[in-house]
Amino acid sequence: MPDDLFKSDELLSKLDPTPPQTGWMDTPVQIRKGMYCYASNPKSVEYVGLPNARAWNPLDDDWKLPENWEEIIFEGFRERLDRFRSFKVFMDICVRCGACADKCHSFIGTGDPKNMPVLRAELLRSVYRKDFTTAGKILGKLAGSRKLTLDVLKEWWYYFFQCTECRRCSVFCPFGIDTAEITMMARELFNLLGLNIDWIATPVANCYRTGNHLGIQPHAFKDMLDFFVDDIEDITGVHVEPSFNKKGADILFITPSSDIFADPGTYTTMGYLILFHFLKEQYGFDITWSTYASEGGNFGSFTSHETMKRLNSKMYAEAQRLGVKWILGGECGHMWRVIHQYMDTMNGPADFLAEPVSPITGTKFENAKATKVVHITEFTADLIKQGKLDLNPGRNDHLRVTYHDSCNTSRGMGLLDEPRYIIKNTCKNFYEMPRNTIREQTFCCGSGSGLNAGENMELRMAGSLPRANAVKYVHEKHDVNMLACICAIDRAALSVAMEYWVPDVDVTGVHELVGNALNLSGQNERTTDLRSEPIPGLEGDDGE
């Protein structure tokens, strides 16, 4: 946490939703420390061949733009209006009813009117009207149009990097306008001018070069999993053996690299290893990890369609190279937006893969027929439903759990009940947050879409306020002490948000709970959980 960040009660008391006295077009943007991310490192931009690689600073007057930047934006805008019908429709149909205005965590947390989804989109629409509509060209400001200037561009940049593409606003829009797609278009335009942020550009370059956002090389990737193998043996007495890059394996497993590297996601990875070992011993389950396609996430999707496509293609290339039947995907957020909503027309059809069927239960995952990628919570929920796992939820009895729906898995692919089913079968104490903050109405963690950097912490904490507020409610009402989620950005971001807003609540992945509950044959007395912390009530007991 940065030293100069306000304490949570100060941030709350500073929150003032009174709009400025001036109209929005006459209120100039002020790029403020704590609210924006650093500019991309030119080496990363250059590595993937994106435009205008150079060092620049958002606080400088001169952003070192190409000389013809207005023309680049105009042409880029026109090209995207032609290419994406949805973009054209979203530019035209908003009636500015304001149903979305107070649904956005960024607006709720900052009180800045330009974070109302309607107004954020209007920043772009106003220029669209000026350049692409007759009324806007003739009537100017009367028709809500304005000319693109450097100040307007800076205003775009500032606010479209305060939207996390969570799509909560779109649930409430009577026209179904998907503001995330508008933000994606804006960020594509920034990319044309080299206005990327480093928290996105460097993971993209790393992923393209070494296969994952963190730049973990193959030998280090194996080394990290081996570290978990040792820890699992210490905790359970059972030696698990993951396989790597195995040709002819039945299934390829791909998950976010941060769960190999950063806590608490690492405990979720230990859960996967325990589950796969159990299934191998009991049912001959044959799954392999890849050190090449070693990233579930796709920060390319926060850059441009082309970058997203390049990074996404690696998982399919690897599945084909290894000759697996299908892909099992781990607990990740935007990975699923990319797979569920873009992959099939972007890199598909993946007709060299088989329609996914669980080799253990025979269940056909018909929803994954096109993409050939099954979400691990669907897979595990099915195993539990068919009675294939030997679970002892008692080892999670000390936890009082609530569940945060990741924006991308809930609104992006309708995955709502499977994670809950797993939690309820691995934990006795489960409590839902209020209805308007979960499922398809879930509140964002505040750091999605590549905004989980360190330098924009005030923005992140402000954006996490609505989610944290709902957690606080169940913490006070039901003594909830654990927030479960199925997204790696969530695990990293919510850990910080909880420390800031609700310090008594910790964060876990769903498969960490599975790993704690699952009995392994030959295990010793399990007196600690996967975090090597003593399990209350089971110290010295075998927990059976």
Binding site: D231, D263, G297, N452, A492
Partner: protein, 105 residues
């Protein structure tokens, strides 16, 4: 990119004060970070953390996960924070000349 000077040596740093390249790391850099971090005296424990970070980085091209650092040094995370007030990433990695990790972390 901003520059900092220490002991007659000039270093190029990023916005968070991380050194631009591991190759430019030196004893002067260590003393510079010591001052920035507000560490009173460099002890063998500080040097052990830096050494382990560098050995891991040279082998793997990335900082070790916090759990590995804790296990190899035998220091609890709390103690690492006592040694480096900004923590293992922003304090210890900075002193060792490693880059910041990025992604879903």
């Amino acid at each position: 990119m901003p520059e900092v000077e220490y002991g007659g040596e000039t270093f190029t740093v990023d916005e968070d004060g991380f050194i631009d390249s591991y190759d430019n790391w030196s004893d002067n850099w260590v003393n510079h970070v010591k001052e920035v971090e507000g560490i009173e005296e460099l002890t063998d424990e500080h040097r052990l953390v830096v050494k382990i970070l560098q050995e891991y980085y040279e082998k793997n091209g990335i900082a070790p996960m916090v759990r590995v650092l804790a296990k190899v040094t035998g220091f609890k995370l709390k103690h690492i924070y006592e040694l480096f007030p900004s923590g293992p990433g922003k304090g210890a990695c900075k002193m060792a000349g490693l880059p910041k990790p990025t992604g879903c972390v």
